[in-house]
């Protein structure tokens, strides 16, 4: 087991495994998402409070879930990189940030559009949307810090420290925003969630979340390879690897 883990952590090995797995992950993700979308749009009954408007949940919740998952993964990978000086971990952290930002953006936009019919306005200072907005800025800060530091080694470690500080802060931010919202509660009381969820409504949501998760992994396989290539462009295995890739097309 340990041996296997060590092998996976070596960039050449990971690069090969990632190339092999990526198409599978992508197709599985598409299959799951299509199933989820069909279940969510067609099979699931309309909610008795929100009508068909609740179907936005199937694109909003997975995006929100993945945005938080991405930040956690980024922080864990950064921590592993900082403590065990593992280069691959930093590659994973660097590759996760833009994808996480994309999911956060999606969660925000879908949440705002969902808010219009439910609250009567696109933006309401709902605690979860507010946290999501702050999360977007945390991702942007990470990305911009990496951009500003030209040297990869320095960018890795500096942004890693930032990710760790951010992940400690994230629960505090979340709690403080909830607390703030409970005091300044606006007139709207409908929360962005289906009030009483039935099995017909639930399974498409799970399918969507799994689909989003697989898609995230597929994208990660691509982006981590980009990071590995950039970091190891002088290594000999890269020449050999790219040579075989060229023969196979």
């Amino acid at each position: 087991m340990w041996n296997w883990f060590h092998k996976l952590a070596s960039p050449p090995h990971f690069y090969r495994i990632a190339s092999a797995f990526e198409p599978w992950l992508l197709w599985l993700a598409i299959a799951c998402m299509l199933t989820g979308a069909y279940g969510g749009l067609v099979l699931a009954p309309a909610d008795h409070v929100q009508g068909d408007g609740f179907r936005i949940i199937y694109v909003h919740v997975p995006a929100a879930f993945l945005s938080m998952f991405s930040y956690a993964l980024m922080a864990v990978a950064s921590g592993i990189g900082l403590i065990w000086r593992m280069k691959l971990a930093f590659s994973v952290a660097a590759a996760t940030a833009p994808v996480g930002a994309a999911f956060t953006f999606l969660a925000l936009v879908t949440g705002a559009i969902w808010g219009q019919p439910m609250w009567g306005s696109y933006w309401e200072w709902d605690p979860r949307l507010t946290s999501e907005l702050i999360l977007l800025f945390l991702f942007l800060g990470y990305i911009f810090l990496r951009q500003a530091l030209a040297e990869t080694r320095q960018a890795d470690r500096a942004s890693g420290i930032l990710a760790l500080v951010g992940v400690v802060n994230l629960p505090i931010i979340h709690y403080s925003v909830e607390w703030w919202n409970s005091i300044h509660q606006g007139p709207s009381l409908i929360k962005l969630e289906a009030p009483s969820i039935t099995t017909d409504m639930l399974w498409p949501l799970l399918a969507m979340i799994i689909g989003y998760q697989l898609l995230f992994l597929a994208i990660l396989m691509t982006s981590v390879r980009t990071q590995v290539l950039q970091r190891e462009q002088n290594a000999r295995w890269i020449t050999e690897q790219l040579g075989t890739e060229n023969i196979h097309g």
Partner: protein, 222 residues
């Protein structure tokens, strides 16, 4: 170790008083931002009284941000930071001393001038007292978090925008609890709850941030 801590603080204080313009800049900025709010929203006393505590907290946050640009820049450029990192004393303690000095020269003047600024928002006396208490409890966390951000960007020139992007999202809990407590105080209610939370945040920042700052300084020096 305690001696080194004191030495760094006294050196920082001496340096700060020698260049009094650096000392005055955040305070003046703080005053200007506070002045902007009445000019922007009009002179309706009820509205001003309502937004006063929050506005002063936002201004204090921005003034702190302004002061962070110079926190490590000069020491980085002239090699002082490298000397600190090479010294036999733990870097965490030395940098904590620098942060404490930063709090004394930046945040204390801000807190001291707050009563004057509350006049512009027509805050009641107990509100002024409460506001100063919340600033006293919350600004240490601001300084400590700020020192992490300043250390991460120490090697970069013109990083002020970047520091703002890195730090402002992280300081949101401090702002929420601080402004809320100040708000409660202004309406004559007990502020114990949010004040404790604010103090808790400062203590948490005190236990974690110095290590992050030290790690960040080592990365920047690399």
């Amino acid at each position: 170790m305690l001696q080194a801590f004191q030495l760094v603080i006294s050196r920082e204080l001496q340096m700060a008083f020698r260049r009094w313009s650096d000392l005055a800049l955040p305070v003046i900025f703080f005053m200007i931002v506070c002045m902007l709010f009445p000019l922007a929203v009009g002179q309706d006393q009820a509205i001003l009284q309502k937004i006063g505590p929050g506005a002063i907290w936002v201004a204090a946050l921005l003034a702190t941000l302004l002061s962070l640009n110079t926190l490590y820049r000069e020491d980085f450029d002239d090699g002082t930071l490298e000397q600190l990192a090479l010294s036999t004393q733990p870097l965490t303690i030395l940098l904590l001393a620098k942060t404490v000095a930063h709090w004394i020269v930046t945040e204390l003047p801000l807190i001291a001038i707050t009563p004057l600024l509350t006049l512009g928002f027509n805050l009641p006396a107990e509100g002024v007292y409460g506001l100063m208490l919340t600033l006293l409890a919350g600004t240490p966390a601001l300084s400590l978090l700020g020192s992490v951000g300043a250390a991460l960007t120490a090697g970069l020139h013109q990083a002020s925008g970047l520091i703002a992007l890195l730090l402002l999202p992280l300081t949101i809990p401090i702002l929420i609890f601080g402004a809320r407590a100040a708000d409660l105080a202004a309406s004559g209610q007990s502020i114990a709850g949010p004040l404790y939370l604010l103090g808790g945040l400062s203590v948490l920042a005190l236990t974690l941030c110095p290590f992050a700052t030290a790690a960040a300084v080592r990365v920047s020096l690399d």
